[in-house]
């Protein structure tokens, strides 16, 4: 089984350790991991800001890069796997809007979207594992990424993965499915509103007494983590892949 990493520009640029963790977990499970080097961004920033023409040309490039990657399967089952609910949703849900009157691209797109998975969903649904051999000594709470939860409908997979980690105690936070206030450019268009949403999220996190907050989107985590580090709140911020990469063996 082959996984073509769709690493996302955010992980590539700011959080490469998340990508490495993902590679670590996938390889531990015997997945053949590839990284199509031509990839850059999926186009979501422009799409969400209303710049459809710009988004479209970036998206078209994505379709050709990953179409090409998937066609090199050599008889292997080949997939696209992404550490972000939001970017996965862009490809699986919103590309359809973007190309709605371009049947030629839609056809190519369908072949990609059928094989594209967010990381947690890929582990549980495709690889078929919830226990990936991870160990973590800590109390963990989970923030639902809005796009993973509501655009892709993935709620249980990350929880199953977290709960199977040895040594870990999972505590659900109240308002686990409320937006953290990130919303891409929303966070700088309306910073006061964004931070006020974030405040409530932080209260919700710290209220559980967890020492670690985990999510499936670096967008949310850079928002949550940005306030946690600014305010010196003693909670670790981690992508699910980082949590699962821990084996407790150094």
């Amino acid at each position: 089984m082959r996984a073509n990493l769709f690493i996302t520009c955010l992980v590539d640029t700011f959080f490469p350790q998340v990508g490495e963790s993902m590679v670590g977990v996938l390889e531990r499970l015997g997945v053949d991991v590839r990284f199509p080097v031509e990839q850059t961004c999926c186009g979501q920033p422009a799409f969400n800001s209303g710049y459809r023409a710009d988004a479209r040309s970036v998206a078209e490039r994505f379709v050709s890069v990953f179409g090409e990657a998937l066609s090199q399967g050599e008889g292997e089952e080949s997939y696209v796997v992404c550490p972000s609910g939001s970017c996965t949703a862009m490809v699986k849900v919103f590309y359809k809007e973007l190309f709605h009157n371009e049947p030629r691209i839609l056809e190519k797109l369908r072949r990609i979207t059928d094989r594209t998975y967010e990381f947690s969903e890929f582990l549980v649904e495709v690889v078929g594992k919830t226990d990936v051999g991870a160990r973590y000594d800590g109390v963990v709470t989970y923030h639902d990424s809005c796009h993973l939860l509501r655009e892709l409908g993935v709620k249980d997979a990350p929880r199953e993965l977290i709960s199977s980690v040895k040594g870990l105690e999972f505590r659900e936070m109240p308002l686990h499915d409320s937006c953290c206030g990130f919303g891409g450019t929303f966070s700088i268009k309306f910073p006061k509103v964004s931070v006020s949403m974030l405040d409530e999220k932080l209260d919700s996190i710290t209220g559980t007494g967890a020492d670690t907050v985990v999510s499936s989107d670096m967008g949310c985590l850079m928002n949550i983590g940005g306030a946690i580090s600014r305010r010196g709140i003693p909670v670790k911020v981690m992508h699910l892949a980082e949590l699962l990469a821990n084996t407790g063996k150094g």
Binding site: I7, D12, T13, F14, F15, P16, G19, E20, V23, G30, D32, R34, F35, V37, T40, C41, G43, A46, N48, S49, G50, Y51, R52, D54, S57, V58, R61, F94, E97, C146, H147, R150, E151, D177, S178, C179, G181, G183, G184, T185, F186, S187, I188, K189, F190, P191, K192, V193, V195, S196, M197, L198, E200, M222, N223, G225, G226, A227, S229, R230
Partner: protein
């Protein structure tokens, strides 16, 4: 309107914040319980959406059917293209009948056309009879929630308001306050020459107007005065009487979580000879005011499916922080972000489609499953297209930065170069692995949050090492 300024103010208002959290929590919990207890809730929403979709697609035919049947029942039907026409129609009816004072039940459509001010200017007194609306009218404000207009006011605010405006002693018990309002309003009902209501639904098949409420004031508004005028947005239509058995529970459960509301009035024409009460004249004013423009747009047409239950407001994490007044016009919350720009003209509310984090919580609770993120994204692209045409400096700058970004991310080598350059460029701001302050506009992030630093070795460079190391892949 200025969403950014008004929302920032709202966020800083402690009293408003606690009021908003209280009310939205209560409504959320009630809706959730009611929907969990209703078997097949999701299918019901799906069916309601289909019916609305069908109705809106055949709106012209159903409106004519409604008109015919209202007439058949002895009512009169008026068509209003815009707010002004609607106001004039209603003022005319009042004048022709020598009406000096009007009682009103809760109606967002009358807010939309600025009816109270219009009547006032024509020398006709208008009194709101819904308790929340009564409070708002006394305070000289506008509603901040579709179904709970005064939620931004605390009990203390209301006590003070009553003491000041009604000359009654300060009292803090809700029952006492309600009693005062009720006594005042009783006289108003008896003295009014005309009652004006909105309409939750209009049934084409029977020419029936449906009003849902809990206080009984709408029942009085529509039966005590000799004339009843109902103002209805043209999208409130349902084809068949039987559709109510689906839409009434959906509306009430989504709105307040009640199984059914205390009062449901079904009004078909004026009083008939055998009737003991009811108005001698019934007028239905059908309001377009921008709705046919929405109808013409396939991509955003579903905005017209809304039945104004308010669930999207209560479940919106943005509304919960900014309250209704930040949206600058009649409708607020998610439905306001999509419908205000379309009704007012997108140039008058260009911020609103952006006043959402696109989290989609609204879509999950909407009884007609409006796909908010899709509509918002559609409207955002319209705003951008319009802005680019204006040639304003800020618009050009933004467009250019996206053009630049596109040039970078569509060329791998330039993208990789940009990664290397930004690694260096960020040095002056980098402290302990993060950026603690950045120049405008990124300062809007770093004012209260650290921003991650661009990694010294981005993933693609690390990959080259991982890949070289070999191993099972």
């Amino acid at each position: 309107m200025n969403f950014e300024r008004d929302s920032a103010r709202a966020v800083g208002d402690k009293k408003l914040q606690s009021a908003l959290i209280n009310v939205t929590d209560r409504f959320r919990a009630a809706r959730k319980r009611a929907s969990d207890e209703t078997p097949g809730w999701d299918d019901l929403r799906g069916r309601a959406r289909e019916i609305k979709k069908h109705t809106i697609a055949h709106l012209d035919e159903y409106l004519l059917e409604l008109e015919r049947n209202v007439r058949k029942a002895g009512g009169r039907v008026h068509w209003a293209r815009d707010a002004e026409e609607a106001r004039n129609i209603i003022i005319d009816i009042a004048r022709r009948n020598g009406v000096k004072s009007v009682v009103k039940s809760k109606s967002m459509a009358t807010e939309e056309i600025g009816l109270n001010d219009g009547l006032e200017a024509a020398g006709i007194r208008a009194v709101e009879t819904d308790l929340g609306e009564y409070i708002i009218q006394l305070a000289g404000e506008h509603p901040s929630h579709i179904i709970a207009p005064a939620i931004h006011k605390t009990r203390h605010d209301i006590s003070e308001l009553f003491a000041e405006k009604l000359g009654v002693p300060y009292m803090s018990e809700p029952q006492e306050l309600t009693k005062v309002a009720r006594e005042r309003l009783r006289g108003e009902f008896l003295g009014a020459g005309m009652g004006v209501s909105g309409a939750n639904f209009g049934v084409a098949e029977t020419g029936t107007i449906v009003i849902v409420e809990n206080e009984g004031n709408a029942r009085l508004t529509t039966t005590v005065p000799p004339i009843h005028v109902a103002l209805m947005g043209i999208e409130k239509l349902l084809p068949r009487f039987g559709d109510l058995s689906l839409f009434l529970p959906l509306l009430v459960r989504s709105a307040t979580g009640q199984k059914t509301s205390t009062y449901i009035s079904l009004i078909t024409g004026p009083r008939r000879d055998a009737d003991k009460d009811g108005p001698r004249e019934f007028h239905l004013v059908l309001l377009d005011n921008g709705r046919s423009g929405i109808l013409a747009d396939r991509e955003t047409r579903e905005s017209l499916y809304c039945i104004r239950c308010g669930a999207c407001l209560n479940n919106c994490p943005v509304y919960r922080k900014v309250g209704g007044h930040s949206y600058g016009w009649v409708y607020s919350g998610p439905i306001g972000t999509i419908i205000n720009p379309q009704l007012m003209g997108i140039d008058r509310a260009p911020e609103l489609p952006f006043a959402s984090s696109l989290c989609g919580a609204c879509r999950d609770v909407c009884p007609v499953k409006i796909d908010f993120p899709k509509v918002l994204l559609e409207l955002r692209s319209k705003v951008v297209t319009r802005k680019e045409k204006t040639g304003q400096a800020a618009a050009i700058m933004e467009a250019l930065s996206f053009r630049f970004w596109r040039a970078v991310v569509t060329h791998r080598r330039i993208y990789e170069l940009a990664l290397r350059l930004s690694r260096h460029a960020q040095r002056p701001w980098k402290r302990g692995g993060v950026l603690r302050s950045l120049p405008y506009p990124f300062s809007r992030w770093t004012d209260e949050r650290d921003f991650p630093a661009v990694s010294e070795t981005p993933f693609r460079e690390r990959w080259r090492k991982i890949d070289r190391k070999g191993g099972p892949r």
